[in-house]
């Protein structure tokens, strides 16, 4: 076992950071990569922040996973899978959607809320090439884990009130995961969008 200094796989510059993050952002060439068995460059987007918001803003990482789903059967008590209707094609039982998986450490309630809100209403934003001096929260979930967590988010959308889910027969195929950094203002009542 050995300890190595992390260098960018693109420009070989050493990477410096004050946060303990499983993804590494090169300030020199703006390449983001992840390690674990092998070094892999990952696609990412940084949403531009709303400059009219003066409160302190932070970038939160999300894995945006493109998923195809087919719902074969759903049995609930007091509800239906109506929430997925907007993603279904031509009145059928299959469709596609971007599942947003919060990738930083947070409490369960915030995780659920962010995952559901962003998945149900995907954010629209313009992008930028760097973080503009804003702090970014560290990533704690790998892209591989994000696919499994996408499945969890998918069922969470189905299982959330008012339905008392009893059975759900579905197929979910995750295609690709992209890292998306979204700016938020952290308030006592939870993170508030700042894009």
């Amino acid at each position: 076992m050995k300890v190595v200094q992390v260098r960018c796989p693109n420009c070989s510059q050493p990477i410096y950071s004050k946060i303990k993050d499983i993804v590494f952002f090169c300030e020199n060439c703006k390449v983001l990569h992840i390690r674990g068995g092998e070094t892999k460059v990952i696609d990412y987007e940084i949403a531009d922040f709303n400059k009219t918001i003066t409160a302190e803003k932070k970038y939160m990482p999300f894995w945006r996973v493109w998923c195809n789903f087919t719902i074969n059967e759903s049995r609930v008590s007091g509800g239906t899978f109506r929430k997925m209707a907007q993603f279904m094609r031509g009145g059928g039982n299959s469709g596609s959607l971007f599942v947003f998986v919060p990738a930083s450490e947070m409490d369960v309630a915030t995780f659920k809320q962010l995952a559901m809100d962003l998945t149900m209403s995907p954010p629209r934003y313009s992008t930028r090439l760097d973080f503009g001096g804003l702090q970014r929260l560290p990533t704690k979930i790998t892209n591989g884990e994000a696919e499994n967590v996408s499945d969890f988010v998918f069922v969470t959308i189905q299982a959330d009130k008012p339905g008392i889910l009893q059975d759900l027969d579905y197929d979910l195929v995750c295609q690709e995961a992209r890292m998306v950094y979204l700016p938020f203002v952290v308030t006592e009542s939870g993170p508030r969008p700042a894009w």
Partner: protein
Amino acid sequence: MSISVGLNCPACGGAIQVADGEQVVNCEYCGSMLYLEGDGGVNTIAFKMKVDRGAARAVSEEWFRKDWKARDLRKEAKVLEIYPIYLPFWSIKMRVIGWICGYDERTYSDSKGHTRTERIPKEEMVLNDYQYSEIACDPGDLGIKRLRNFLGESEFEDFGNIPTYEATTSKDEAMKRIGEEALNDARGEAHVQHVTFERVHVLPRALSMIYYPIWVVRYGYREKMYIYTVDGVSGEIISGRAPGDPLFQSLAITAGTTIGGLIAAGSLYLMAASETMDPTITLIGLAAGAIITFGAYMFFRHGSEIIEGDFTDKKYGLGGLDEMGVVSDLLKGRIDLGGRI
């Protein structure tokens, strides 16, 4: 629970600390991001031996006196062999995430004996982190299967001159076993009696191989050999075998059968004397009497040897009953006494 080990930054030489299972660390001196490349993704950590031979021997004084061991054990026991070893353990952090749905059933009875069963739908979100350890070699007769202590000074693979057991179980085997254990624990915590839908993922978060120092002490008592092991970091007894006391065994069987019989007979007498008494109380009394009697018998049967630790043949007293799941099942209401627990 956390383990941290010291190392030096390859860029500036500064001293840094890495927590167990972490792959990434920041150097607080030069700000470099550092990455731990373990063998096959496994970090290997060795705890430092902190207990000397004398202390490992002395700890028996207190242990020999505890529980139901032979009263003359402290006087008669002779230490035959005492040596240190390092044992390998897999330490794995798991996150279990998913949903378990289904229903619980509640049965109600009215005064006329009519019963009604209500079905209560349940959907339980599972999002838990677990840390498990399991021994990575055949521990033989040492009675150690899991790490009990995760605190102490540690380094990467520095065993000194102490012999080391080689790891014989693979990473994949350990991950599979521990993954199943995490899944079962998560299912247990969800408390869904009848599961109709389950979608749960087990995500390995960190994997380490921990080498832990222990002292093995073999001692003789009346021409029989026994063993105990001492935690090389905390100095506490981890496992051991010791002779029991025939007097305690005799007292246990006498008192146990007497008390158990009185409780069972008392509950039958009360039922016969009172027409309005709930028969469930009699059934509970009979069960309690039977458990006490059986516990006393188990202690009498197996109390000739007092066993502590992860031995598979540990079965005496009420602890033995619990090993067989009787007590825990009763407490959890899995054993139905009259259908009302």
